[in-house]
């Protein structure tokens, strides 16, 4: 089958690109080996964490776009950024929504007892953004080694409780397993009873972000009823259950709308002719299948996802062999302190304003290839706290341009 668009990469930028194209009535295939970094890092939607809480996001962002023309946001522009975000939000109608408070960044508590500025917050985390004066208890689970209620409680100056689990008490449990258990009525019953026993009239319960994968608001409502307290989720060490929820929602909706998913295998090769990409190949052992399309979007992420690779000397883009804008030598990749902004994170694929990859002089390399997501050059999504924003906005914008 021939497609209008093939999206390579199934993280948030690839999913947004597929969504955008399918809503334009196109035939879309999305290929990816995994969920990108959705299930690792994404809890809330970061747009730009450098904007203080006291400033409207729109005002801060408009200045940023003006000051950073080479940043992905600078290329897309304020108006399209807003369009992209509302497109994302259209997949999350109530009850499980992503919202900002007063159209500005808010501080969300994290599993390390710190706070971080973020923009769109899922409904399950909303009650965590204003803890002042509240009687709070943090609840963790024995055997879940990625969350320590006592540690968080020490930072937040409140009480922490660690509940023993009803079965196999001495073994481990993961965030995913806890989230699945939370979806079972017997477990919520158990949780409610045990939590109530140890609570001292607190009004707010902080839990690791494990309130179920499919119906977090249903789960929350039920245990709020059982405990008589309000509940908020807290972002923790990977895996990220909230990120999985985003993926699942996109996948379900896109399938409904007729997108084709090919997951679990990476694209093994691209067939290029002159300045066009003709086909991509996927190796399904023991055969190789080819898929063709008019247009292609590369949304393969950075190093973790394999979109970029580094050997001892150089950073490469392994699939199209696109030029990667990068520091002069390997010695310049990293700064002396871990907490510095490392130049390597600015590296990536340089594009024209429509997100087509360009060569050194600035000429588009292909007439039918666009690039989206964190693989793009010119941002520092870790320090800027802009990861999901860049993914959503550039996924949207790449597809808009590709399908124009």
């Amino acid at each position: 089958m021939h497609y209008d668009l093939i999206v390579i990469g199934m993280g948030l930028s690839g999913l947004m690109a597929a969504k955008t194209a399918i809503e334009m009535g196109k035939r879309v295939l999305i290929i990816g080996k995994g969920l990108g970094t959705l299930s690792i890092f994404s809890n809330t939607i970061d747009l730009l964490g450098t904007i203080p809480q006291t400033m409207k996001m729109k005002d801060g962002l408009s200045q940023w776009v003006h000051d950073h023309p080479e940043h992905p946001y600078g290329k897309v522009g304020l108006e399209k950024i807003e369009e992209a975000l509302s497109s994302f939000n259209s997949f999350f109608p109530p009850p499980y929504t992503f919202q900002s408070k007063n159209e500005a960044n808010s501080l969300v508590p994290t599993g390390a007892g710190t706070f971080r500025l973020t923009y769109l917050i899922p409904s399950t985390m909303m009650k965590g953004i204003n803890l002042k004066g509240k009687r709070i208890v943090i609840i963790g689970f024995e055997g879940y080694k990625d969350f320590y209620a006592s540690r968080l409680a020490d930072s937040l100056n409140c009480r922490g409780i660690t509940l023993s689990l009803p079965e196999n008490p001495s073994t481990e449990i993961t965030a995913t397993a806890l989230a699945r258990w939370m979806e079972k009525p017997f477990f919520r019953e158990f949780f409610g009873t045990e939590a109530k026993k140890q609570m001292r009239n607190e009004e707010l319960i902080g839990l690791p972000a494990v309130l179920g994968i499919h119906d977090p608001m249903g789960v929350r409502k039920d245990i709020e009823k059982k405990t008589g307290a309000s509940i908020f989720e807290i972002p923790v060490l990977p895996p990220s259950i909230p990120g999985m929820r985003i993926f699942n929602r996109f996948k379900a909706r896109l399938l409904q709308q007729g997108a084709n998913f090919l997951s679990g295998l990476p694209v093994s090769n691209v067939i290029l002719r002159k300045n066009r990409c003709e086909n991509i190949e996927v190796f399904h052992p023991p055969v190789t299948n080819a898929y063709s399309a008019d247009r292609f979007i590369l949304a393969t992420g950075r190093f973790i996802s394999g979109g970029l690779m580094a050997n001892r000397k150089k950073i490469l883009e392994p699939l199209f062999n696109l030029p990667v804008s990068q520091p002069g030598s390997q010695e310049d990749w990293f700064e002396k302190s871990f907490f510095d902004q490392h130049p390597i994170h600015y590296s990536g694929i340089s594009t024209d304003p429509s997100l087509r990859p360009i060569d050194e002089p600035g000429k588009p390399l292909f007439e039918n290839v666009w690039v989206a997501g964190t693989i793009l050059a010119g941002h520092h999504c870790l320090d800027e706290k802009s990861r999901e924003g860049i993914e959503i906005v550039t996924g949207y914008w790449a597809a808009k341009n590709a399908m124009k």
Partner: protein, 502 residues
């Protein structure tokens, strides 16, 4: 606080801990002072080679003889700290076979068992070796766990009455004529001050020997030679792989538990405290060691680190490798008229016991007592305990694991914490395999801090400690970030700078 002891030992490396044990077994009370934890210097920063002596047999037969003799003793007294892997001295096409022949002959002369293997024999033992190798000589090299070794010495010493002040720094020495009569020291974590009256003082500070002696206006001339090493995330060979040529850069690969350690370089330095591995050294180590084991070119590295060898020299200059790796035992009564001070420095990890014996013998002569050394006969306390992989893996699956890389059990860590006496994160990391695996503590140190909170033992601000750890970890990781290690780094940065906004 006022304290009194017969002997103050300064330095908690293998030598200091060895002397502490030796004296305690002779019934002589001692107090060991160390400004960090045990193994904070070269004892904890080496490649863990259990020398047969082969490496020095041509250039320094005296040091080689000491090595093989101690090698035989340690196999008996510390079998649990040693993995008897054997070692191969590999000759490549560009190597001079005259050196190999000299090597085999020198081994015979120093009684190091050496067997010349053909190319095929060597490849059948170690299939990863470069297929063009000419030959290999097998010697009884092995791998030694310096942490286990030193902590066991300390434990046995303590059981026999020795005492320690860790995280404690000497602030001054008080002299009475040409005797040191007391030592003033300060606990760096609690600020407690000590005044310690002592009859004798042993300077076992290794690379810091001259810095210590400076307080007395003395200098013995210890050359500081930085040696850098790289750790792979897999064990690439079962035996120690040496290059059969005069000692040079990147000529050894030592297996260590689940990893291999590539060494070393030799760079003269003046600064003992701030040592880092340079990109040039990283390239050099990979280029040179991969000539013996080609898989190193594509290997994933988990850390780079460096240690300082204290080399005792008689003032002349030259390549540091030409300086004897033998040790220096100095009676300052003879040299500088300070009656009750001894300095011991230089040497090798594998000769630590001999160094302790000779130092204690000298001390006994000075004290006028006649008690013999027994450390070559009495096994370390853990020598009896069962060892082996099976033992180590048994509980996995039934218990919560804190470190998924090295399978460190939560209970094991909790037990250690409850035993007490651990003062900071480094103390805990020295006594477990936490933070030694592929992610280098990217996950387990966060968890460890959580466990400390659960036990009500968290001291200080956990996120400050975590930040400090990540900075320390960064020093070892920064030089090796490409390939898979870079992916891991992006993950760790994403967690701590991203999710947790530290």
């Amino acid at each position: 606080m006022k304290l009194q002891t017969e002997v103050v030992i300064i330095g908690g490396g293998a030598t200091g801990a060895g002397i502490s044990r030796d004296l305690s077994l002779r019934g002589i009370p001692s107090l060991l002072i160390e400004k960090g934890d045990f193994l904070s210097g070269a004892s904890g920063r080496n490649h863990g080679l259990f020398h047969s002596g082969g490496r020095y047999v041509v250039s320094d037969p005296e040091a080689a003889r000491e090595c093989i003799s101690e090698n035989r003793i340690l196999r008996k007294i510390a079998p649990h700290c040693i993995e008897e892997t054997d070692g191969l001295f590999v000759s490549l096409p560009e190597d001079n076979l005259d050196f190999r022949n000299q090597f085999v002959q020198a081994c015979q002369e120093t009684t190091i068992p050496a067997h010349l293997l053909s190319r095929d024999e060597a490849l059948s033992l170690e299939p990863g070796l470069h297929p063009d190798l000419l030959s290999a000589v097998k010697v009884p090299d092995g791998a030694i766990d310096p942490f286990e070794l030193v902590l066991e010495n300390a434990k046995d010493a303590e059981e026999h009455g020795a005492t320690f002040l860790l995280h404690t720094e000497i602030t001054s020495l008080l002299l009475d004529g040409n005797r040191i009569k007391s030592v003033l020291a300060k606990d760096l974590l609690s600020d407690e001050e000590y005044s310690i009256k002592t009859s004798y003082l042993i300077n076992a500070t290794g690379a810091w020997a001259d810095l210590f002696l400076k307080r007395l206006g003395l200098r013995i001339g210890v050359a500081l030679s930085k040696g850098s090493m790289l750790i792979t995330n897999q064990r690439l060979a079962q035996r120690v792989i040496n290059r059969c040529r005069p000692p040079s850069n990147g000529d050894i690969i030592v297996p260590n538990h689940t990893v291999s350690i590539l060494g070393t370089t030799s760079v003269r330095t003046e600064d003992v405290e701030h040592i880092e591995v340079t990109p040039h050294e990283v390239s050099l180590l990979i280029e040179e060691t991969s000539k013996m084991l080609p898989a190193i070119k594509d290997a994933r590295f988990i850390r780079a680190y460096a240690g300082i060898r204290p080399l005792f020299q008689s003032e002349e200059k030259g390549d540091d490798r030409a300086i004897s790796r033998g040790f220096a035992l100095i009676d300052h009564e003879k040299r500088d008229r300070i009656k009750n001070l001894i300095t011991i420095t230089g040497g090798k990890l594998v000769t630590y016991r001999l160094m302790a014996e000779k130092t204690s013998d000298l001390l006994c002569r000075k004290m006028g007592v006649n008690v013999s050394c027994t450390t070559h006969l009495k096994p370390l306390p853990g020598a009896e305990k069962p060892s082996g992989l099976k033992n180590w893996l048994a509980p996995v699956g039934q218990e919560e694991i804190l470190c998924d890389c090295e399978l460190v059990r939560k209970k094991e860590v909790e037990d250690l914490l409850k035993e007490g006496n651990l003062k900071n994160l480094q103390d805990i990391l020295h006594r477990t395999r936490l933070a030694k695996g592929t992610c280098q503590g990217g996950f387990c140190v966060y968890r460890l801090l959580g466990v400390l909170h659960d036990l009500g033992m968290a001291k200080g601000e956990s996120n400050k400690i975590l930040q400090g750890f990540l900075e320390e970890r960064w020093k070892g990781i920064r030089p090796i970030l490409w390939g898979s290690a870079l992916k891991e780094e992006e993950l760790i940065e994403g967690i701590y700078k991203g999710i947790f906004n530290l």
